[in-house]
């Protein structure tokens, strides 16, 4: 938990340091600016979709989704007009324990036999800092669509490729996935590192 809450601040500080360090003479040096990175990107398989569901007494289920696809567009004139769409294939869930994976795929949770994707489509992007943004959009899972919000931090940008850290806490009960509560938290904490390749 402590690690989790420290790392975004660390990341920003680290990015700032890097930027300042590499251009020591420039007084206007700053973290990479989202607007500079404008363009269309495809989400690459080097991305990591990591999640944690805390459990009573400490610890929890920790895993990754191996299969996903998506793309995003960073608007040149107004970062607020940027868009993202993302598709996750829950049958690719990995937790290190086959029985847990099978349970997550079963009708108790994702019900992959009937719903083979989880999708997110942004409706609103708001820049919240030089390298941060809040993305709102529609998350659809198990046939239910709801508005959800993710916080985005720019990690790295070089010509042609870009990397973000994206975090969001999603309540699973509205999607009919409340099995196991309160032993397992209702909140799924997503911590994703998304890499985009310019198209």
């Amino acid at each position: 938990m402590t690690l989790r809450s420290q790392s975004p601040t660390k990341t920003i500080a680290f990015t700032l340091l890097l930027a300042l360090g590499s251009v020591p003479s420039s007084a206007t040096a700053a973290a990479p600016d989202l607007a500079d990175a404008a363009g269309n990107y495809g989400i690459t398989s080097a991305s990591r979709i990591h999640f944690t569901v805390a459990q009573a007494g400490g610890g929890g289920i920790v895993g990754d989704f191996a299969k996903f696809s998506g793309n995003f567009r960073i608007d040149r004139n107004d970062v607020g007009h940027s868009t993202v769409e993302f598709t996750l294939y829950p049958e690719s869930v990995k937790t290190g324990e086959k029985r847990i994976e099978d349970f997550l795929k079963s009708s108790a949770v994702f019900d992959t036999a009937n719903y083979n994707t989880v999708t997110f489509r942004s409706t609103n992007v708001k820049q919240t800092g030089p390298d941060t943004a809040a993305v709102e959009g529609t998350l659809t899972a198990r046939g239910t669509s709801r508005k959800e919000r993710f916080l985005v931090t720019l990690l790295d940008w070089s010509r042609g490729s870009i990397a973000f850290n994206i975090r969001g806490n999603i309540h699973r009960s509205p999607y009919g996935m409340d099995v196991g509560t309160p032993i397992y938290s209702n909140v799924v904490q997503f911590d994703m590192n998304i890499k985009g390749q310019r198209r």
């Binding site: 079963s106 099995v179 196991g180 309160p182 032993i183």
Partner: protein, 206 residues
């Protein structure tokens, strides 16, 4: 009438006996259904958690009962039992007391060694820690086998024990069953003829 005396059982023994009996029968049925019948996975998850919470309750009561059995007065064996029957009865009782402890302890070992690492959240109220045992597939499989074997062994002793009780009640028409149902039965039983009418005894059941 809380305590036993030489003539019969007191309420503490009686209430413990029937509470544990009800829990154990429910746990045997629940254990079988949750593990051996095709149930919906979400329901199966809840059944496992109910099984663990009820199982810990059985373990708690069985511990009290085992200690109680050691310190409390034992009533005289019912009249009309020969030596062999007395030994069979008391041996069965000791086996039942021991298995009522061993079965849930082995269940606790299953939950503790399981690589699923599912917390035992007692009736969604407090987390009962896992036993300090290493988690591995091999250990989980071993304890599952022990838990299952002991559970069905317990079932067979319970069947033997319950059938013996029913045999005494309906065939021998003695007060073996009745004295585990009510504390006052010995006065009535002794005031009535030895072959008291089972129908009347049946009506007196609470």
């Amino acid at each position: 009438m809380l305590r036993n005396d030489k003539a019969g059982f007191g309420w503490i023994t009686i209430v413990l006996h029937w509470a544990i009996a009800a829990l154990i029968l429910a746990l045997l049925g629940l254990g079988f259904v949750m593990r051996r019948t095709p149930v919906d996975p979400a329901l199966q998850f809840s059944l496992y958690q109910w099984h663990k919470s009820l199982g810990f309750t059985a373990l708690g009561l069985a511990t009290i009962r085992a200690l109680w059995h050691l310190v409390e007065v034992r009533p005289r064996p019912p009249a009309g039992l020969n030596m062999l029957e007395r030994h069979a009865a008391s041996t069965t009782h000791v086996v039942l007391i021991v298995l009522a402890l061993a079965v849930p302890l082995a269940g606790w070992a299953v939950a503790s060694t399981s690589t699923l690492n599912i917390p035992s959240f007692y009736f969604n109220w407090i987390v009962i820690p896992h036993l300090p045992m290493a988690k591995s597939e091999a250990a989980e499989n071993f304890w599952t086998l022990v838990h299952m074997t002991l559970a069905y062994l317990l079932l067979s002793f319970v069947a033997l024990h319950a059938l013996a009780a029913l045999y005494h009640h309906f065939a021998r028409r003695d007060d073996v069953l009745v004295r585990m149902l009510q504390t006052g039965s010995r006065q009535r039983a002794s005031s009535q003829a030895a072959g008291s009418d089972p129908v009347i005894a049946g009506r007196k059941k609470p």
